[in-house]
Amino acid sequence: MGAKLKSQSPRKPRDRRPWYQAVFALGLNAWIPSWFKGEIFQGGIKGVCVPALNCYSCPSAMGACPIGAMQTFFGGLRFNLSVAEKKFGLYVAGLLAAVGSAVGRMPCGWICPFGFIQELFHKIPTPKIRIPRFMTFFRYAVLATMVVALPLLIVDEFGYGQTWFCKWICPAGTLEAGIPLILIKADLRPLIGFMYYWKLGLLVLFVGWFVLSRRPFCRTVCPLGAFWGLFNKVSLFRMAVDDEKCTLCDKCHKDCPVDIKIYESANSPDCVRCLKCVSSCKFGAISYEFLGKREVAPDLRVKNRAESSG
């Protein structure tokens, strides 16, 4: 009898998301032999843009970074038009928009290795700092200027623009490619100059910020998150908050890895759809819906089943 009651009692579900993040981080960078050969993976599947900010110059990267690819298209657009070559970046833009239309920013919460790295650093026990809301709008400026406008507008004598975001900002590139390639390719070391130290310094600053604030890069700088965030309100995957069940206890806000109050805006562009709030809400007020199917927290499902059977 006692054993039966024990088996029916609601159990706190384990947060499996870090495991998914780890598997995706390793899966997107799975070509380990490259590390020993001192080169980057060059297989034919590398033209597939991965749904994450993952540098394609990481030696073991299996796919292409969509933000790097997008900048390449914008940077080459004027040259391509001048030679009547029809390469507009439709493949990358369409792929990103398709992912956004389906699930919004969900890949940020489950797939992106750089988001995972930020969450790991944030586990280091130190006093934490909240990011002011106005700073979260900066990522749209990064998307508009560094990814679109500057590669398109500032071109060399041949009509080619630079990949401004990769070159001046992207700490994922420094961490996943800059440091490893310098370590495994001795012939690159003499080329180290101001830009390398600039990016290394920026990475150090970001890592410090990762420790102090919740996913600061995703919230204030990431152009991919900025783009997918635009789809959160219109995607097939939707978050929902039941106002009648919500007690405004703020537990979801305290547990949120991007520090948002989901009860104020269920499909906020800042939400990475990690679903932490769904499992942390004791009242079943937060749910998600995908293709017409609505889900609440797993522990509440267990509790409801136990109540209905007893």
Partner: protein, 44 residues
């Protein structure tokens, strides 16, 4: 209309992506991805 919007967006996105693939953009991305991006690593 609100329920249809994500489906319309998804269909348009997939159409745009297919158009890009038909124009040979996959190879363009592959070409970039298999070359060490000096800008990305900070020595460009």
């Amino acid at each position: 209309m609100k329920r249809r919007l994500p489906w319309i967006l998804l269909a348009v996105s997939l159409a745009v992506m297919t158009a890009g693939l038909l124009l040979g953009e996959y190879n363009k991305v592959l070409e970039k991805a298999i070359t060490v991006c000096l800008d990305c690593i900070g020595i460009g």
